[in-house]
Every structure is written in structure tokens, then in C-alpha cells.
């Protein structure tokens, strides 16, 4: 296996994260926003793995597992919320849920 420089891994993580971020910013559909968040979480996990691999330690993977757990919980709660929002507002438009505006 080729020996890779660390920054390439991290750069990949950064690119993926940025793509997710752009998506969050431009989408109005809540489900798409949730998907984009998943992309960003995944990118963060990738960064951890790269770091763990750099030191040949298990800690990076442990962190990834934590992120994974969190993502799972987040998705389940998030989807439940989406169901509720859709139920109440009859739309997936995140801008429609602006009752909290000051």
C-alpha cells in the first residue's frame, strides 16, 4: 500500500465537509438539510480516522464511533421532528417554520 500524506486525507475531509455545508446553506427542504448534515458528520469522522491512522492509535476510531452514535440519534430525532413539521405545516420548507422569529 502506498504511503499517503496526512494532509491529503484531511483535505478530503475538508472538501466533503464544505460540500455538506454548501448544501445546508442552499437547501430549503428539511430532509435535504438533514442529509447534508450527515455528509458533514461523516466528513468530521473521516478527519478523526485520518488522525488516528497517523498515530496508529485506536482513539480516532473510538471518536468515529461516538460520532456515528450521535449521528444515528440525531437522524432518528430529526426525522421524527420532520414528520411533525410536515404534519403541522404540510410542507418541508424550513423557512415556513419561522414562528420563533423575534
Amino acid at each position: 500500500m502506498n504511503v499517503l500524506p496526512v494532509e491529503m486525507g484531511l483535505l478530503l475531509a475538508g472538501v466533503l465537509f464544505t460540500l455538506g455545508l454548501i448544501s445546508v446553506l442552499i437547501r430549503r427542504n428539511i430532509i435535504f438539510m438533514l442529509i447534508s448534515v450527515e455528509i458533514m458528520l461523516n466528513a468530521a469522522g473521516l478527519a478523526f480516522i485520518v488522525a488516528g491512522s497517523r498515530w496508529a492509535q485506536a482513539d480516532g476510531q473510538v471518536m468515529f464511533i461516538f460520532i456515528l452514535t450521535m449521528a444515528a440519534a440525531e437522524v432518528s430525532v430529526g426525522l421524527a421532528l420532520i414528520l411533525q413539521i410536515y404534519h403541522h405545516l404540510k410542507t418541508l420548507d424550513s423557512d415556513a417554520a419561522d414562528k420563533m422569529s423575534g
Partner: protein, 173 residues
């Protein structure tokens, strides 16, 4: 070499995800992206995590989202709506911001000292030792979190049964 190929696939797939109008298509590309990342994990010497990536991300989470989309029973008009929401101008601001962020990140990485990855494999056993050793408190917290997630999802997802008199319901219509 394989790393670069996988990387490019991941990036391309992700770009496809964020540009689709149809959710199901986007999710399929997302699976591809996750799989590519799983390959990278494998190459980085983390086979256990690669497996988890496939099973949980590409498997469970994506499937969950698909289920929800199916529950919502979205039709063609949702795709149309997505198209309507998706103007060209909307890209400009987020794009610039994100690129700035990415640029700064790249700058940090490039200017930092060049370090090569360690080529050793950290197997699942080591991960397990680590998880149930020094990180035990984290595991417990994750347990709590999942618990809260389950309870929260159940509570939020429950359809409240409206107890309204039928005449009143009629009146509402």
C-alpha cells in the same frame, strides 16, 4: 492510487448528492459517497470502522431516511418545488463562504509540516480495548444519548389523536 480514486468518487458522489432535485436519487448518491469513504477507511487501516460506515451510515441511516420519505408520500410536485427553490443566485453566498473556509483549511494543511500516514492497521480489538477502557464513560454517555434519541423519536413521532367532536371537526372544514 486507490486512495485518490476513492477520494474523487466520494467528492463526485457528494456533489451529485447536493445537486439532485429528487431525494431518492440524492440518497443513492449518498450511499455511493459513504461507500467510497468506507474504502478510504479501509485503506487507512481502520477495517472495523469501514464496516460500520457501510452498515450504519450507508445502511441504517440512509434506509431510515428513505422510509421517512416513503411515509411522507412525496410526489412529483415535490421535485418540482425543489427545482423552483433551486435558483442560481442561491449558490453565490454559501459558495463563497464555504470556499473561504475551505481555502483557509487548505492553507493550514499546506503550510503545515508534511507528515506521512502510519501504515499500520488498528484492528477492532484495539478499538474495543480502547472503548471499554479509558473511554468507558463516553460509551455510557452514548448509551444515554441513544436512549434519549429513542425516547425523543418515539415521543415526537407519535401521532396525537385529536379528540374533537365530529360537528366541530366538520365546522373546521
Amino acid at each position: 492510487m486507490a486512495f485518490y480514486i476513492a477520494s474523487i468518487i466520494a467528492i463526485l458522489a457528494t456533489i451529485m448528492v447536493i445537486t439532485r432535485y429528487n431525494m431518492i436519487h440524492a440518497l443513492l448518491y449518498l450511499v455511493v459517497s459513504f461507500l467510497a469513504v468506507a474504502v478510504i477507511f479501509f485503506m487507512l487501516g481502520a477495517p472495523f470502522v469501514a464496516a460500520l460506515e457501510v452498515i450504519i451510515y450507508a445502511g441504517a441511516i440512509v434506509v431510515l431516511i428513505i422510509f421517512v420519505i416513503m411515509m411522507l408520500n412525496l410526489k412529483e410536485e415535490s421535485v418540482e418545488q425543489e427545482r423552483k427553490w433551486f435558483s442560481k443566485n442561491i449558490w453565490i453566498g454559501p459558495g463563497i463562504l464555504s470556499l473561504v473556509l475551505l481555502g483557509e483549511l487548505a492553507y493550514i494543511l499546506i503550510t503545515s509540516e508534511r507528515v506521512l500516514l502510519n501504515n499500520s492497521v488498528v484492528d477492532s480489538k484495539a478499538v474495543g480495548m480502547s472503548l471499554y477502557g479509558p473511554y468507558i464513560i463516553g460509551v455510557e454517555l452514548c448509551g444515554l444519548l441513544l436512549m434519549a434519541g429513542i425516547v425523543g423519536a418515539y415521543h415526537l413521532g407519535r401521532q396525537r389523536r385529536k379528540v374533537v367532536h365530529r360537528f366541530l371537526e366538520k365546522a373546521e372544514e
